[in-house]
Symmetry: C2
Subunit: 163 residues, 2 copies
């Protein structure tokens, strides 16, 4: 496999094994209650960790770690906003995904909006929330329901987001 072929191979591999996630964190006691936290990760059994290091070299960023609580599972993780904006998102704009096309599209929009601090405006934050709940199967796996988060925002004084 030459270098270009390997890039397409890894792109297809990531289309299956990666996740574009935007975690919604509830900081109950903090001034800013709801925080959106985007992360890109690729998960593998530890026996396949070499491919995670190959992916790390491909992006020239991110870390390879053991998954918390699952020592046999490893992840390539990019959580830095700067690295997502400068490396991960441009890569997948060039090498397009197929099955994760929609999730990536939303992820890219959300990361860009967070990067422009749009989340500090309540209306914009609600737009972002709605987008995020359209990802990865419509938020079925999420701890919090969109309805409940929106309700809590209605009565909240501070609807900002850490940048």
């Amino acid at each position: 496999m030459n270098k270009e072929q390997y890039i397409y191979y890894l792109t297809g591999f990531m289309d299956g094994e990666s996740c574009f996630c935007v975690a919604l964190k509830n900081q109950r006691s903090a001034k800013v209650r709801w925080v959106l936290d985007p992360v890109f990760h690729v998960t593998q059994h530890a026996v396949n960790k070499e491919i995670l290091y190959d992916i790390q070299r491909l992006f020239n960023c991110g870390i390879v770690i053991k998954k918390y609580g699952q020592p046999d599972t490893m992840q390539f993780v990019v959580q830095s906003r700067k690295e997502l904006v400068e490396k991960v998102i441009p890569f997948f704009k060039k090498y397009e995904l197929i099955t994760k096309k929609k999730d990536f599209g939303i992820f890219a929009e959300v990361v860009e909006d967070l990067n422009q601090h749009k989340h500090k405006d309540k209306k914009e934050f609600i737009k972002l929330l709605k987008k995020v709940f359209q990802m990865n199967g419509g938020g079925k796996q999420r701890r919090y329901k969109l309805k409940d988060v929106l309700e809590s925002l209605g009565s909240s004084e501070t609807i900002r987001q850490t940048s």
Copy 2:
């Protein structure tokens, strides 16, 4: 993406999303009790079914079906021994897998041996069994334990395999 790039993309995708499985079936009442049944499949949520049809076109064989009992999950399946030997195995000898390299290697050996009817010899069948139990994480997911199957073979008159 041109055609060659797409082949590498699909190869990487299948490295993540496929399974080279050799089911071990217990035909309690039949003359031949234990049957090894190789199958290659790629599994996706139904919303991604188009890529399964692309894979079907790539191999020019196999079927795309709903997974039994899971209507939201679809599979591209190749179970025909002839198609495995003539289409699937040569493909992955040309376009090599990375994380499933070992499982594919065992799968290819087992399918070839079954194709040559080696399983009709008891010693050869035991060799095949041992190989099969080295696949996909060492048989931890299997219904039957290797030890129990080998024990049952010790007292069995007929250790053949359907061809």
